[in-house]
């Protein structure tokens, strides 16, 4: 009898311990992630300026947000940046992964070389590329010194092209990481299938197009999720690379949100922009994740 209760207690404890251990982090998550999301959403409907305040103003902050030329520019920039960044990173990452997967010599050395930029923070990447791209001291200057004086590359100083320099720096930083993800995916493909396909006379091109790349679907999913969220939250790279300039030409929603909330004393508008950012991400990610994860194995 006594043994039975002891056993009972033990099983019950075993059932409870995981829940107990997880409870604090769940509580913390609830408050500091979801709680503050709700708080931000609430602030976006208030007249908060320098500190949170609780006078409700309805949709006024949203109305003002969409009147601001800087905000439309930030959205446009994000669209350009995110689209190019995700596509180029995936293409370069996949190409590098396929090339590295050809059982070449020195792979062990090459892989980390491509992967290392990811170890840098975006601030370092931004500063280094700022110097490289600066026509006065960087690539253009060097090529002029080497005698190619007609060479001209000053995108970082031109309002219409500066956003593409952000893409360049971001792609440099992340494609190695995407490569590693695809490489892992490639290594996970069953060799038997490939051999069977080769026996049936599939060309290399067809092999990749019809068998290997479709099987990389989970890797594509992870790459997309990671790249998309990096794109939307990218802040430090812009700050270090262009400081939002020339003028406001490379302003992104994240830099917009920070400047309105913390330097312009317009917390209400800042909160509204944060809510719009969240909605945008949700609008893209939720259907995608839903479609991908629902799929039966």
């Amino acid at each position: 009898m006594a043994r039975e209760t002891a056993l009972d207690l033990r099983t019950r404890l075993q059932e409870w311990i995981p829940k107990l251990v997880l409870a604090p982090s769940v509580a913390v998550m609830l408050v500091f992630v979801y709680g503050f999301i709700l708080f931000t959403a609430f602030l976006s409907f208030t007249d908060s300026k320098i500190l949170p305040s609780y006078g409700l103003v309805g949709w006024h902050n949203y109305w003002r947000l969409f009147q601001l030329p800087t905000w439309s520019l930030a959205i446009e920039n994000l669209a350009i940046f995110a689209a190019l960044y995700i596509v180029i990173c995936s293409v370069i990452g996949l190409t590098l992964a396929i090339l590295l997967d050809q059982k070449i010599r020195g792979e062990g050395m090459l892989r980390p070389i491509y992967l290392y930029p990811m170890a840098l923070s975006f601030i370092v990447t931004g500063t280094a590329w700022k110097w490289l791209l600066d026509p006065g001291i960087g690539i253009e200057h060097t090529l002029h010194l080497w005698g190619w004086t007609s060479f001209h590359f000053a995108w970082i100083k031109e309002s219409d092209f500066a956003i593409y320099t952000v893409v360049i720096a971001a792609v440099w930083q992340t494609s190695g990481f995407v490569m590693a993800m695809f490489l892992a995916g490639l290594r996970g493909i069953d060799n038997e299938i490939l051999k069977a396909a080769q026996m049936d006379g599939a060309s290399n091109w067809n092999l990749y197009r019809r068998i290997i790349i479709p099987q990389l679907r989970p890797a594509f999913l992870s790459a997309f999720v990671i790249l998309a969220h990096l794109a939307v939250k990218s802040y430090d790279l812009v700050v270090a690379l262009t400081g939002g300039g020339p003028g406001r030409a490379t302003e992104l929603p994240a830099t917009f949100m920070y400047s309105y909330t913390f330097t312009r004393n317009e917390m209400g508008v800042g909160a509204a922009s944060a809510v719009i950012m969240l909605m945008t991400i949700a609008a893209i990610m939720v259907p995608y994740l839903y479609a991908e994860l629902k799929e039966p194995k």
Partner: protein, 417 residues
């Protein structure tokens, strides 16, 4: 007996002294962003003055040029109910914080030391809220300055330009000689700093006041504003193609090295010239933006005093008094490159540019042409200031022409209010 009395007196004096220390006991916690070499040295003067009075100094530096990071830290501290004793702050931020009801009242010391009489009225507008003293001004910088490399100008036979047309002609002459006429850093605040002087040169103090302080839409979108933007377009033609994103001190270095002739920048630029061992009037020149003689657009660093516990108030008051003492105002501003925030400080310790600035400050104060700098948050609140930045930088980077910029300015300011 005498010895005995002497001893007693000594002991009494010692007791009194220790009591004095005990009364002033406590320390001040100061949040600021003066972390660069010269600034830190200047602040050290205050720290030592206070230490002499037995008041400890808890330094809380948060680096970052315009104090943006410092303000973020401050928000967190105040929200948590634990504000620092004093915080370095600029312009309308002070009033915004005063509205939150978290600042101390310094009226007693102000009355005792007669601050009302010695601090320029335009500064008092920021140091007081609702008629009560809440902050102590440390320095006065002004923004309508032009800095020039004298050797370069002499070699090209250019005299100090007196009018705007002179100035443009001088710039053209430098350009023809193959040098960079105007050293410039393309960051919104630097463009706005230049805009301060340009607007003042177009319309004078009355127009400046109407546009930037009263925010009158007719002035903001009027023909004079269009003219001001046209002058900005003119100036744009004289900067090097590589200007955007450059820090202000690198632009100053271009003038110091003689690569560029002029820079339009606030008087913090003077420190760079002095550090390069250049002498005012001999190696470099300082003069007001042509067409703005007698007018001063200022910005002033102030220490804002926050409401603290009773035990901290003595130390806080002592700090406020120390900041306002003429000797500190002199020694601090000599190091910092600005001018004292009170008009009764002797100018003997200052260099020629400093002496000139002090005389002009006094003159502008008397004439009522001492105006808050728009670019540095002393003409309108942060939201409006940044809205103006947006338009000025869009114009300077070629997105808006002068007419469109004036129109957008009216819209942007209305939206930010």
């Amino acid at each position: 007996m005498r010895g005995y009395l002497g001893k007693t007196l000594t002991i009494a004096a010692m007791l009194a002294m220790s009591a004095g220390i005990a009364r002033a006991d406590g320390s001040v916690e100061v949040l600021h962003w003066w972390t660069s070499g010269g600034e830190a040295a200047a602040l050290n003067v205050l720290k030592q003055d206070l230490q002499k009075e037995g008041i400890g100094w808890k330094d809380m530096p948060v680096a970052g040029g315009g104090g943006e990071q410092a303000m973020t830290v401050l928000r967190a501290r105040v929200t948590a109910g634990d504000p620092p004793t004093a915080v370095q702050m600029l312009g309308y931020d002070i009033q915004d914080w005063a509205k939150q009801g978290v600042l101390a009242n310094l009226d007693d010391i102000a009355a005792k030391d007669g601050w009302d009489k010695v601090v320029p009225a335009a500064l008092q507008k920021f140091s007081k809220y609702d008629g009560h003293w809440i902050a102590v001004p440390v320095d006065v910088h002004s923004t309508n300055w032009v800095w020039a490399n004298k050797k370069l100008l002499d070699s090209l036979g250019i005299a100090q330009p007196k009018t705007w047309d002179d100035f443009v002609a001088a710039l053209q002459k430098v350009k023809d000689a193959g040098k960079i006429p105007l050293a410039m850093g393309g960051q919104p605040w630097q463009e706005a700093t230049m805009f301060d002087g340009v607007v003042l040169s177009v319309g004078g103090p009355d127009f400046y006041k109407k546009a930037f302080i009263d925010l009158d839409p007719a002035a903001l979108g009027g023909p004079q504003m269009v003219e001001a933007f046209k002058r900005m377009d003119q100036l744009k033609g004289f900067v090097d193609p590589n200007f955007s994103g450059r820090d202000w001190n690198l632009a100053t270095a271009m003038v110091i090295k003689g690569d560029a002739a002029f820079q339009m920048m606030g008087d913090w630029a003077k420190g760079e010239f002095l550090r390069a061992n250049m002498k005012p009037g001999v190696d470099f020149m300082c003069f007001r933006t042509p067409g703005t003689d007698g007018d001063v657009t200022f910005n002033s660093d102030q220490f804002v005093m926050f409401k603290v516990g009773k035990d901290q108030q003595a130390a806080q008051n002592a700090m406020a008094e120390a900041v306002m003492s003429p000797s500190f105002q002199s020694s601090f501003n000599v190091v910092k490159g600005s001018v004292p925030a009170r008009t009764d400080v002797p100018d003997t310790a200052f260099d020629d540019c400093g002496k000139m600035a002090m005389a002009q400050l006094k003159q502008a104060n008397d004439k009522g042409t001492l105006l808050g700098s728009m670019a540095h948050g002393h003409a309108n609140p942060a939201a409006v200031k940044n809205a103006i930045y947006d338009v000025v930088t869009a114009n300077f980077n070629g997105d808006y022409d002068a007419e469109r910029a004036a129109k957008e300015l009216v819209k942007a300011v209305a939206l930010a209010q």
